[in-house]
C-alpha cells in the first residue's frame, strides 16, 4: 500500500539539508507520496529506508507470465475490486484441459479442437489461450509424452498439472523452452517443485487447503527464491471458491498482504452447465486463470465473452470504424440506415438487421463512441455529421435511391437532414428490435 507523506518522512534523515532541492525533508516526503519526486534525489537516505519504501511502492499483486513468443500470456497485477473503480487489466486466461490418458489420434484430435476455439466478436478475436496437460494416468512417461505432443500440436501457452515432482520434472524437461506454468506445489512437495521451477525458470502454482496454509506456503516458496507464483486452494466447492477468491482479492489489494499478492488459478469441475456457471462466476470474481474440461464451442464462446465484457475498460466506450457496412448482399435498391459508432449500438442494430434477412447497408457515423441519444444531446450527432458520413462513404455509388432511414429517437433532425443532404429521410423505429418489422413492412 502506498505510504502517506508522514510515514515516508519518518524514514528520511530529517536533516533538512535541501540537497534534494526541496526546502525541508517533510516537503520532500510529501512530494514523494504524490510521486512528484524521486527517492534518488535524497543523497543521505539509508539502505533500510530505501528497502522499506521500495517494498511499499511495489504493486500489491504480482504479474506472472507463461508461454512464449506471440502466445505468451500474462495474469495478475490487478489494482481494484470493482471494475468501475478503474478497470481490470489482464484478462482471465481461459484454459482447456488435455488428459494424459489420451494418446495418438485421440490426443491430437483433442489438441486440434482446443486450437480451433477462436472466435470473432464485435470485430475482435477472442480465444482459449492456454492448454492444461493433466496427469491423470499416474505415469511420468505418459505425462511427459502428452506434454511433448501438446507442445508439437499447439502454439498455446501450457500448464502442466501434476502433484508428482517426478512427473513434472519429466514433462518440464521436454517443454521448458515454452515456459509452461507448473501446477502445483503442495506443502510436502514444495521444495522439489520450487527447485524445478527455479532451474527451468518456469512460474509455479502453490496449492494448499486453506488461505492461512496457502499464505505460509507462498512465503516459504518465495523465501526459497521463486517469485513468479500463482495461488490455488485445493478441492473447493464453487461456494468456497467464490468466497475465498473474494477474500483473497481483498487481502491482497486492500490489505496489501504480500503472501497473497499473486494471481490465482481455478480448476473447474462438474457437468457442462456446472462448468459454465462456476467458470463465469470465477471470471467475474477474481480468478486470473480458469481451467475447464469442456471444449465445446457452445460452452467456450459464452465464457470468452464474459472475459471480454468484464475486462472492457469502463472509461472507454468500444468503437467500431465509421464507414459503410453491408449486411447480407445488398444491391442498388437495398435500404440504407445510419447509426452511431458506439460498438454496442452498432452490433445491436447489425444483429437485428441480420435477423430481418433484408440485405441492407448500415452507415456508421462517427459520434466518438456514444449512443444515439447521448450523441444527439451532446451535438456529436447532427445533420452535418451525417452528411459528411454520406459523402465519405461513397454510398451514392452503391445505391440508386436516395432514401435514408434514421433512428427513431432522432426523428427531430429529419427536416434539417433533408435540407442538408437533399435525401428523403425516413424515420425508423426507436428500438432496434423492431427493425425487422420495419424493413419488412415500411421499407417496401
Amino acid at each position: 500500500m502506498a505510504l502517506s507523506g508522514l510515514e515516508i518522512f519518518k524514514l528520511l534523515p530529517k536533516t533538512n539539508c535541501k540537497e534534494c532541492g526541496k526546502p525541508t525533508c517533510l516537503a520532500f516526503a510529501m512530494q514523494l507520496a504524490q510521486k512528484k519526486a524521486k527517492l534518488e534525489d535524497c543523497p543521505h537516505v539509508s539502505e533500510d529506508a530505501k528497502e522499506k519504501l521500495a517494498a511499499a511502492a511495489a504493486p500489491p499483486m504480482q504479474l506472472v507470465k507463461f508461454g512464449n513468443g506471440d502466445n505468451e500470456v500474462q495474469v495478475g497485477r490487478e489494482t481494484v475490486l470493482f471494475r468501475h473503480e478503474e478497470k481490470f487489466y489482464n484478462p482471465t486466461v481461459l484454459t482447456v484441459t488435455v488428459s494424459d490418458k489420451l494418446s495418438g489420434e485421440e490426443l491430437n484430435k483433442r489438441i486440434e479442437k482446443i486450437n480451433s476455439l477462436e472466435f470473432e466478436r464485435v470485430g475482435q478475436q477472442i480465444k482459449v489461450n492456454a492448454i492444461a496437460v493433466v496427469n491423470e494416468s499416474g505415469s511420468s512417461e505418459k505425462f511427459a509424452a502428452a506434454a511433448q505432443s501438446v507442445k508439437q500440436g499447439s502454439e498455446l501457452a501450457m500448464i502442466l498439472c501434476s502433484d508428482s515432482p517426478e512427473a513434472i520434472e519429466a514433462a518440464v524437461s521436454k517443454t521448458s523452452d515454452r515456459v509452461p506454468l507448473i501446477a502445483s506445489a503442495k506443502e510436502d512437495t514444495a521444495e522439489q517443485m520450487a527447485k524445478i521451477s527455479k532451474d527451468n525458470k518456469c512460474p509455479l502454482v502453490v496449492k494448499a487447503p486453506s488461505i492461512e496454509a496457502l499464505s505460509q506456503l507462498s512465503e516459504k516458496v518465495k523465501s526459497g527464491g521463486v517469485e513468479n507464483l500463482v495461488l490455488t486452494l485445493e478441492d473447493k466447492s464453487p461456494r468456497e471458491s467464490l468466497y475465498n477468491s473474494t477474500r483473497m482479492r481483498v487481502l491482497s489489494l486492500r490489505k496489501v498482504f504480500r503472501p497473497l499478492g499473486y494471481p490465482t488459478i481455478s480448476f473447474i469441475q462438474g457437468d457442462e452447465s456446472e462448468q459454465v456457471a462456476a467458470a463465469a462466476s470465477l471470471i467475474c470474481k477474481y480468478s486470473n486463470i480458469v481451467v475447464v474440461d469442456a471444449a465445446e464451442p457452445e460452452v467456450i464462446l459464452p465464457l470468452l465473452t464474459v472475459v471480454m465484457n468484464i475486462f472492457t475498460d469502463p472509461q472507454k466506450p468500444v468503437q467500431v470504424e465509421p464507414k459503410l457496412y453491408s449486411v447480407g448482399e445488398p444491391d442498388e435498391n437495398s435500404p440504407l440506415m445510419f447509426t452511431t459508432n458506439f460498438s454496442l449500438t452498432y452490433y445491436t442494430v447489425e444483429s437485428d438487421v441480420e435477423s430481418s434477412r433484408v440485405a441492407s447497408y448500415i452507415l456508421v457515423v462517427d459520434t466518438e463512441g456514444t449512443s444515439v441519444l447521448t450523441a444527439y444531446s451532446g451535438d456529436k450527432l447532427n445533420e452535418k455529421v451525417v452528411a459528411d458520413a454520406i459523402k465519405k462513404s461513397n454510398v451514392e455509388e452503391h445505391i440508386k435511391h436516395r432514401k435514408l432511414i434514421i433512428p427513431g429517437y432522432v426523428a427531430v433532425m429529419s427536416g434539417k437532414l433533408e435540407e442538408t443532404t437533399g435525401w428523403e429521410v425516413m424515420v425508423g423505429p426507436r428500438e432496434s428490435a423492431t427493425i425487422p418489422k420495419y424493413l419488412k413492412e415500411v421499407w417496401q
Binding site: 475490486l81 470493482f82 471494475r83 468501475h84 472466435f119 466478436r121 464485435v122 488461505i211 492461512e212 499464505s215 512465503e219 466447492s237 464453487p238 461456494r239 467464490l242 468466497y243 477468491s245 473474494t246 477474500r247 481483498v250 487481502l251 486492500r254 490489505k255 498482504f257 504480500r258 503472501p259 497473497l260 452447465s273 456446472e274 459454465v276 456457471a277 462456476a278 463465469a280 462466476s281 467475474c284 470474481k285 465445446e296 464451442p297 457452445e298 460452452v299 467456450i300 464462446l301 459464452p302 465464457l303 465473452t305 464474459v306 471480454m308 465484457n309 468484464i310 472492457t312 469502463p314 454496442l344 445491436t348 444483429s351 437485428d352 441480420e354 435477423s355 428490435a433 423492431t434 418489422k437
Partner: protein, 317 residues
C-alpha cells in the same frame, strides 16, 4: 505472517421486500417470496451477510410470442396460447417461485390488445398458480397508462410487483400501485443517476421506498452486460453506504435480452456449437454474470438455463 482481519464498516443494507400475499394478509397466494437484505458486497464478509437467496421469475406472455426462436418456444409449445396453462407449467414442471406476466400483446405493434384481455389474463393466471406475480407492461407509455392500472386493480391485495415506471412516465402507475397495495418497479436506461431520480419521484408521490425494486435495464452477455454489471455494483455499494434512495433490490430481464443475441438464437452457425445448447448457455451465463454484481430477481425463459442458474444459486446462497 498472520492473515489480517478484514473489517468492513458498511452502515446500510439492501431493503428486504416480500412479494405475494396469502389469505392471512388479504391475498390468495399459496406462497410468498422475500428478496433483498444483503449487508455486504457479493461474497464479501461472511455468508450471513449475503441476504436472501436471489430468485428466478419465469416469464409468461399474455399472448403467443411470434418472434421466439424455435429452441426457446419448444419447451412451451403446448401452452403458448394459454397464459394460465403456461404459468402452471412453469410452476409445476420448472419450479417457478414467481411468475412474471409480461403484457407484450397490448403493445400497438404486437397485437394492440385491450384492457379486457389483459384483465382476464391476469385473473386466469392468479387462479392457475399460487406463487406471487410480477405484472410487467409493454413499454409503450400510452398503452401502459391505459391498461396497467386495470391490471393492477384486477390483482388488488395480491402484493404483486408491478411496472415499470420511468422518469418520463411514472404518475399513473405509481398512484394505482400504491392504492392497490403492490410493489413497484422503477426503470432507468443504464444510468444510475436517472435510476435514483425515478426512485425519488415515486417517493415524492408517497410510495414507500421499501416496496420499490429497481430495473436498470439489462444488457445481455456480449451486448452490454458489463454496463448493467457495474451499475448494479455501484448501486449495491451505495446501498451499503446508507443511501436510502439506492437501497432497493434489483431485478434483471435476462431471458428476453439473452435470446436477442445472435449467439443464442442463430440456428445456422456451426462454428458456435450446437444450436440447441447455445441459447440456454447464453441465457445462463448472462444470469450468472448479473448474480455476481448483486441481482436479486432474475427474469428468465429457457428451462435448461433456469435449472443451471437455480443449481448455482442453491449452491451459493
Amino acid at each position: 505472517m498472520a492473515v489480517p482481519e478484514i473489517t468492513e464498516s458498511y452502515t446500510g443494507s439492501v431493503n428486504r421486500l416480500t412479494l405475494g400475499a396469502t389469505s392471512q394478509s388479504g391475498g390468495t397466494r399459496a406462497t410468498t417470496v422475500v428478496v433483498g437484505g444483503a449487508a455486504n458486497v457479493v461474497y464479501g464478509g461472511s455468508d450471513t451477510q449475503a441476504g436472501e437467496r436471489p430468485v428466478i421469475a419465469i416469464d409468461v406472455l399474455d399472448s403467443r410470442p411470434n418472434d421466439w426462436p424455435e429452441y426457446l418456444s419448444e419447451p412451451y409449445k403446448d401452452v403458448l396460447d394459454s397464459p394460465a396453462a403456461w404459468a402452471k407449467k412453469c410452476v409445476d414442471e420448472f419450479g417457478a417461485e414467481i411468475i412474471c406476466l409480461k403484457f407484450d400483446g397490448i403493445h400497438p405493434e404486437k397485437g394492440d390488445k385491450g384492457a379486457d384481455h389483459a384483465v382476464s389474463v391476469t385473473r386466469e393466471v392468479l387462479e392457475a398458480v399460487g406463487v406471487p406475480l410480477i405484472l410487467w407492461g409493454c413499454g409503450n407509455d400510452e398503452k401502459d397508462n391505459q391498461i396497467m392500472p386495470k391490471v393492477s386493480e384486477a390483482a388488488k391485495g395480491e402484493n404483486c410487483l408491478i411496472g415499470t415506471v420511468t422518469e418520463g412516465n411514472y404518475k399513473s402507475l405509481t398512484a394505482i400501485a400504491l392504492a392497490d397495495g403492490h410493489n413497484l418497479i422503477t426503470e432507468a436506461p443504464l444510468d444510475i443517476n436517472i435510476g435514483k431520480q425515478v426512485n425519488i419521484l415515486a417517493a415524492d408521490m408517497g410510495f414507500p421506498l421499501e416496496k420499490i425494486v429497481t430495473f436498470q435495464d439489462t444488457g445481455a452477455l456480449g451486448y452490454g452486460v458489463e454496463y448493467s454489471y457495474s451499475i448494479q455494483e455501484r448501486q449495491r455499494l451505495a446501498a451499503l453506504s446508507g443511501d436510502k434512495m439506492m437501497a432497493m433490490p434489483v431485478i434483471c430481464d435476462v431471458g428476453h435480452e439473452a435470446w436477442r443475441a445472435k449467439e443464442a438464437k442463430s440456428e445456422d452457425a456451426p462454428d458456435w456449437g450446437r444450436a440447441d445448447k447455445r441459447g440456454p448457455m447464453w441465457e445462463a451465463a448472462t444470469a450468472i454474470c448479473l448474480l455476481q454484481a448483486g441481482a436479486d430477481i432474475l427474469r428468465m425463459r429457457h428451462p435448461k438455463a433456469i435449472s443451471t442458474v437455480k443449481d448455482f444459486i442453491n449452491e451459493l446462497w
